[in-house]
Amino acid sequence: MSDLKPLLNVDNLRVRFPSRDGFTEAVRGVSFTVGREKLGIVGESGSGKSMTGRAILRLVPPPGEVTADRIEFDGTDLRTASERRMRGIRGRGISMVMQDPKFSLNPVMTVGHQIAEAYQVHTKASRSDARRRTLEMLEAVRIRDPERVFGLYPHEVSGGMGQRIMIAMMLIPDPALLIADEPTSALDVTVQMQVLAIMDELCGGRGMGLIFISHDLNLVASFCDRILIMYAGRVVETCRADELRSAKHPYTRGLLDSLPRLDETRAELPVLTRDPAWATAGDPKGGAT
């Protein structure tokens, strides 16, 4: 965290999809800023956390509609930037790691070429230069034999390695901000920790900002600096990660309590009772959608 002005400013972000009876609102008035820090966005499925990440990069698929009072990245208004300008920002300015490497890597291109392409698109680097940088990057994400992995196709690598390859691809243009949407939830715990260590190092070393989207409260609490807790398309609570244990909102408390612990002695887990007021609290229209 720094006193410099934030990398990204988001004000009153809304995402809605037309449905049979009017609109379904996936994100309802979310505001936050990200500096050179690790910001966690936590929520259950359907809370709007992934849509928030996608909306920033204008990746919400039609017929979804995005509105906001402000989405500003490094002086650029992302709401009105041209597609051409957006292509420059995606990757170089803000890049995004998706959840599943199986669906995010090109299956008919070797992983080395995919990573090198990501580099060449954003820099005017020569092919041999791109290859060298790619090998360096593969090594940075702790792939033991980068030369061999360079020539492999996505189906030839394990899930954990695929995820590290994705991270290498997203980091090679040296983005100022990385949005990682459940980047490690498909991985085994020990591999997960190693992948997080790589991202941690890059945040510290390059001063990169990170938006870490996850459903795993404990993981986010131990990894991030700050946390937004989302419920039904809005942010119900913001806190410092090390203060999550003393969170106040009943939803956050309920989520924390419903997690079994390693030293579990409770005979029964408390079940979350959802209060309809959580979804409408703070809504200027009093919950009318």
Partner: protein, 258 residues
Amino acid sequence: MIEVEDLNVIFGHGGGAIHAVRDVTFRVGAGESFGLVGESGSGKSTVLRAISGLNPDWTGIISVDGEAQRQRRDKAFHKRCQMVFQDPYGSLHPRHTVDRILEEPVAIHGMGDADKRIDRVLREVGLGPQFRFRFPHQLSGGQRQRVAIARALILEPRVLLLDEPTSALDVSVQAEILNLLKRLRSELALTYILVSHNLSVVAFMCDRLAVMNRGRVVEEMDAVTLRRGEASQDYTRQLLRASLGYDRAAADSFRDFA
């Protein structure tokens, strides 16, 4: 209740053969809840599938309820021993109603009285009769998993084999399903084998557990020892440490165990 001795599972032949399970031995007493823990590829699900009869390529001894099992199982076995799968979105027929999903096992086993049984089992899993004529797509993930549990329970089995029953669910829904499974076990005197990668879930659900890595059982321990974090093997200690959340120093110290 369940005895597994020198279980070996090999997929494929010759040079491409994969030895997925190596000399696995454990016992589960009647009414006990036993956990199988490990990372992906450790062979934990393969052990479960061999016990359930879904995987015929095994050697060794599997005995359930005092009866040594052969590769093929008879109908009576499946009535005693039922399985609940990980993905509630994939394990229910998308074009069958809950009623039809639950009616089928009753018909197969000629148990009769389907109407009453379905009604009762839906209540047991906490779904009212109003869910009976819905299709899976009209249910939430947690409700689907309840239907999958109901489908297993309707045969009045003695053993439930649970393969990551909550890992596809949100944490608040996970709590509901874990509570349900725990209550059902004590009410119906069931024996559980629970496969999970989540040590906390196993600490909540099980009395004893075996930790697996690369096809072998690394360590068997009781839940009290797990809760205290007193593992005797390095592999288990590493797994425990990784489960506690992100810790830079810990992540750097992780290594591969052959």
